[in-house]
C-alpha cells in the first residue's frame, strides 16, 4: 500500500515495535493517571518526533528501517520519562494555570510537527533537526513536570506544618487556661470551704448546691471542647471547634477515640480539618447554623461523621457534589483531594444530603492511619 515491498523481517520488526509501544503507553498511563490528556498530547508528540527524526534524516523514503529506528528511539524516551514520572502517580497535582502552561508545549509541538509533514521542507536535515529539538523540548517538559510536582508537594506539606503549629499553639493556650482555672480554685479553696460549711451548718442545702455548681462552672474551660488525651486530635479539634463556635449558633461534638491512637501521617489532620472547614462554611450560610461532629474508634475502624445545616442542596456535578463557593481559588485542597487521601488509605467516604442537612461519613482503617 505504501508502494514498496514489505518483507517478513520488516513485518516482524514492526509488529514487535507496535506491541512494545502499546505496552509502554499503557504503563505510562498508569503512572500519570491524574493528567491523562496532557500525557496523551505529550506522548503523541514524543512518538511523532521519534518517527520523524529518522524519516527526515534519511530523506523522504519511508522504509521499515525508519519505523524500527523510530520505535527504538521511542523506547529509549520511554525509559527517560519513566525515570522522572515515578513520583507523579500519587500526586494530586498542579493547579489549573500551571497545568495549562505545561499543556502548551506538547500541543505546539504537535502543530509544528504536523506543519513540517504537510509543508514541503528542503533540505531534510533541517527538518530532522527541528524534530530533534521538539523531542528534546518534550522530554524536558516531563522533567519540568516532575520538578513542579515536587515543589507543589513541598509547598503543601509546609502549609500543613504551619497549620499544625497553629493548632498546637492553641492547644497549649487551652491547657494553660485550664490549669490557671484549677490553680485559682485551689487558691480560693479555703474560702470556698468556709462558705460551704457555713451554708450547710445553717441548713441552706439549696444555696450550697448552687454554690457548688458555680464552682464547677468556674473550673470548666470554655475553650476546651474535646479532651480525649490524644494530642493530635485534641489540638486540631479544639482549634477548629473554637473557630466554629465563633460563627455558628450550635456546635455539637461526640468524640470517643483512644488516647494512644497516633496517626502516622498528616492525612487524618488534613481530612478532618478540611471536612470541618467545609461544614462550618456551609453551616454559616444557612439559617440554623448548626454542626455536629462525631468521632468513633471501634474494632480497628475509625469513623468520622460530620453533619451540618445547609442553605440549599449542593448541586451534583457528575458523581461529586459541586462546590457552592463563588471564588474558585478559595477551595483549599478541596473535597477531591480529601477523597483521594481517604482512598489511598483504603478508606471510604460518602456525602449525603437530606433536605437542609448535609453530612459526610468517612471510614478509615486504624492500621493504615
Amino acid at each position: 500500500m505504501w508502494g514498496y515491498n514489505i518483507d517478513i523481517q520488516g513485518m516482524l520488526i514492526m509488529a514487535i515495535a507496535l506491541v512494545l509501544n502499546v505496552i509502554l503507553v499503557k504503563k505510562l498511563t498508569e503512572v500519570f493517571a491524574g493528567r491523562r490528556f496532557w500525557l496523551a498530547a505529550a506522548l503523541c508528540n514524543v512518538e511523532a518526533a521519534c518517527y520523524l527524526i529518522p524519516y527526515f534524516a534519511r530523506g523522504r523514503m519511508f522504509y521499515v528501517q525508519e519505523m524500527a529506528a523510530g520505535s527504538f528511539l521511542f523506547l529509549a524516551c520511554f525509559f527517560l520519562i519513566r525515570k522522572t514520572g515515578m513520583r507523579s502517580g500519587e500526586a494530586g497535582g498542579l493547579n489549573g494555570r500551571r497545568g495549562a502552561v505545561l499543556f502548551v508545549i506538547p500541543v505546539t509541538g504537535v502543530i509544528a510537527l504536523g506543519a513540517m509533514l504537510l509543508g514541503d521542507l528542503e533540505p531534510y536535515g533541517v527538518a530532522a533537526l527541528i524534530s530533534a529539538c521538539i523531542l528534546a523540548a518534550d522530554l524536558s517538559v516531563f522533567y519540568l513536570y516532575d520538578v513542579l510536582l515536587q515543589n507543589d508537594t513541598h509547598v503543601r506539606q509546609r502549609d500543613i506544618y504551619r497549620r499544625q503549629t497553629d493548632h498546637y499553639r492553641n492547644q497549649l493556650e487551652v491547657i494553660e487556661e485550664s490549669q490557671d482555672r484549677i490553680r485559682a480554685l485551689r487558691h480560693d479553696m479555703k474560702n470556698h470551704m468556709l462558705h460551704l460549711s457555713a451554708e450547710l451548718r445553717q441548713g441552706h442545702c439549696e444555696d450550697a448546691l448552687r454554690y457548688l455548681e458555680e464552682m464547677e462552672e468556674e473550673l470548666q474551660n470554655p475553650a476546651e471542647y474535646v479532651r480525649t488525651g490524644n494530642r493530635e486530635i485534641d489540638s486540631l479539634l479544639n482549634y477548629k471547634m473554637q473557630k466554629a463556635k465563633q460563627v455558628l449558633a450550635v456546635v455539637e461534638s461526640d468524640v470517643n477515640v483512644p488516647m494512644e491512637l497516633m496517626p502516622k501521617s498528616f492525612d487524618i489532620n488534613v481530612i478532618l480539618g478540611n471536612l470541618l472547614d467545609n461544614a462550618v462554611e456551609a453551616a454559616q450560610k444557612s439559617e440554623r447554623k448548626w454542626m455536629k461532629l462525631t468521632l468513633r474508634a471501634d474494632r480497628g475502624v475509625f469513623l468520622i461523621h460530620i453533619a451540618n445545616s445547609c442553605e440549599r442542596e449542593p448541586e451534583k456535578g457528575g458523581k461529586y457534589f459541586r462546590s457552592t463557593k463563588e471564588e474558585p481559588g478559595e477551595h483549599g485542597i478541596g473535597l477531591q483531594n480529601v477523597r483521594r487521601m481517604v482512598e489511598r488509605q483504603n478508606g471510604e467516604i460518602e456525602f449525603a444530603c437530606e433536605g437542609e442537612i448535609f453530612s459526610v461519613d468517612v471510614m478509615l482503617y486504624m492500621n493504615e492511619m
Binding site: V226, V257, P258, K292, D298, L303, N346, D361, M363
Partner: protein
C-alpha cells in the same frame, strides 16, 4: 415479656442511686421490664458473677478503686459475659486503647442524662433482639436452631459448611436446641463459662448468607463472620474475638468495607 437485667457498678453510691432511678425511668419510657443490680466495687461484682449470670447491660465505671473497670470488663469478656453490653461511665473523656478492645457498647460521661440512658438502652435491646433470631440448618436428618447472636462464623469447605458458635456453659441447650451428641462435632473448652463448638452441615454458603440477619458479613466465598464477634477489621483481614483471622478476598473487599461502614455507623447514635 422477659425482664432485662441491668447492672450498675460504680464506687460513688449517690451516683449509683441516681443512675438506677434514671434507668428505671428510661425503661418505663421504652415499655421494657427491667431488673437492676448495683455493685460498689470491682471485687464485689467479680465475686458475684462467679455465681450468677452476667447482666444484659452493665453501666461500668472506669475508675474503680482496686480492680478497675478494665479489669472487670476483661473478667466479663473472658468469662460468661461475651454477650453483655458494657457501657463505660466516667467523668473524664480520656479513654485508653485497652477499653476499646473490650468492645463496649458506648462511653458515657458523667453527669448522664435520661435521654442518653434511654438511647443506649434502646440500642442494647435492639441488638439483643436481633441476636435472638434463629438460624436453622439440617444435619443428619435432624433440624437444629441456633440463635444468630451466638454464631461466630461459618466456614465452607467443599460442600460442607462448618458453623462455629458460642455455647453457654451452664445451659447447653440454649445453644443447640436439638441436644445432639453425635460425632460430627468438635468441642474446645476456652474456660469454665463459655466454650466454642463447631458443627458441620451440607449446604451452599451463598444460601446461608441470604438467611442471616444484617450483622453477618460474607468476606470470602468460603467465610461468613458475625460482626458482633469481630475484634479488629483491616482492609484485607478480619480478626475475631476468639483470635482467628480471616482473609477478605479481593472481590469482596469493597463491598465488605461498605457493609462495615454501615454497621459501624448504625452503632453511632447520630442524632440530628
Amino acid at each position: 415479656m422477659e425482664k432485662y437485667n441491668v447492672g450498675i457498678c460504680d464506687d460513688d453510691k449517690i451516683f449509683c442511686t441516681v443512675l438506677e432511678e434514671t434507668v428505671h425511668l428510661a425503661a418505663r419510657a421504652l415499655h421494657q421490664k427491667i431488673e437492676t443490680e448495683v455493685w460498689y466495687s470491682g471485687e464485689s461484682i467479680m465475686r458475684d458473677l462467679e455465681r450468677i449470670p452476667c447482666p444484659d447491660i452493665l453501666f461500668l465505671d472506669i475508675e474503680l478503686y482496686e480492680r478497675s473497670g478494665i479489669d472487670v470488663g476483661r473478667f466479663i469478656r473472658d468469662g460468661d459475659g461475651y454477650m453483655t453490653h458494657i457501657v463505660y461511665v466516667s467523668s473524664k473523656q480520656e479513654y485508653a486503647m485497652q477499653l476499646f478492645r473490650l468492645q463496649p457498647l458506648d462511653f458515657l460521661i458523667k453527669p448522664i442524662s435520661e435521654e442518653q440512658v434511654r438511647e443506649v438502652l434502646a440500642r442494647s435491646l435492639k441488638q439483643r433482639a436481633q441476636g435472638k433470631a434463629l438460624f436453622e440448618y439440617q444435619a443428619g436428618g435432624v433440624f437444629y436452631r441456633v440463635p444468630c447472636g451466638e454464631i461466630l462464623y461459618f466456614i465452607s469447605n467443599d460442600k460442607k459448611i462448618a458453623i462455629t458458635a458460642k455455647e453457654k456453659g451452664r445451659d447447653v441447650n440454649c445453644c443447640f436446641a436439638g441436644g445432639d451428641t453425635g460425632n460430627r462435632q468438635s468441642m474446645e473448652r476456652t474456660g469454665d463459662a463459655a466454650r466454642i463448638c463447631s458443627r458441620e452441615f451440607y449446604g451452599r454458603l451463598k444460601d446461608v448468607a441470604e438467611k442471616l440477619p444484617a450483622g453477618f458479613l460474607m468476606i470470602h466465598q468460603s467465610y461468613i463472620v458475625n460482626s458482633d464477634y469481630v475484634a479488629e477489621y483491616t482492609y484485607e483481614t478480619v480478626k475475631m474475638q476468639d483470635g482467628s483471622v480471616f482473609n477478605i478476598s479481593k472481590p469482596y473487599r469493597k463491598t465488605t468495607r461498605n457493609r462495615i461502614r454501615e454497621l459501624e455507623k448504625a452503632r453511632l447514635h447520630v442524632g440530628i
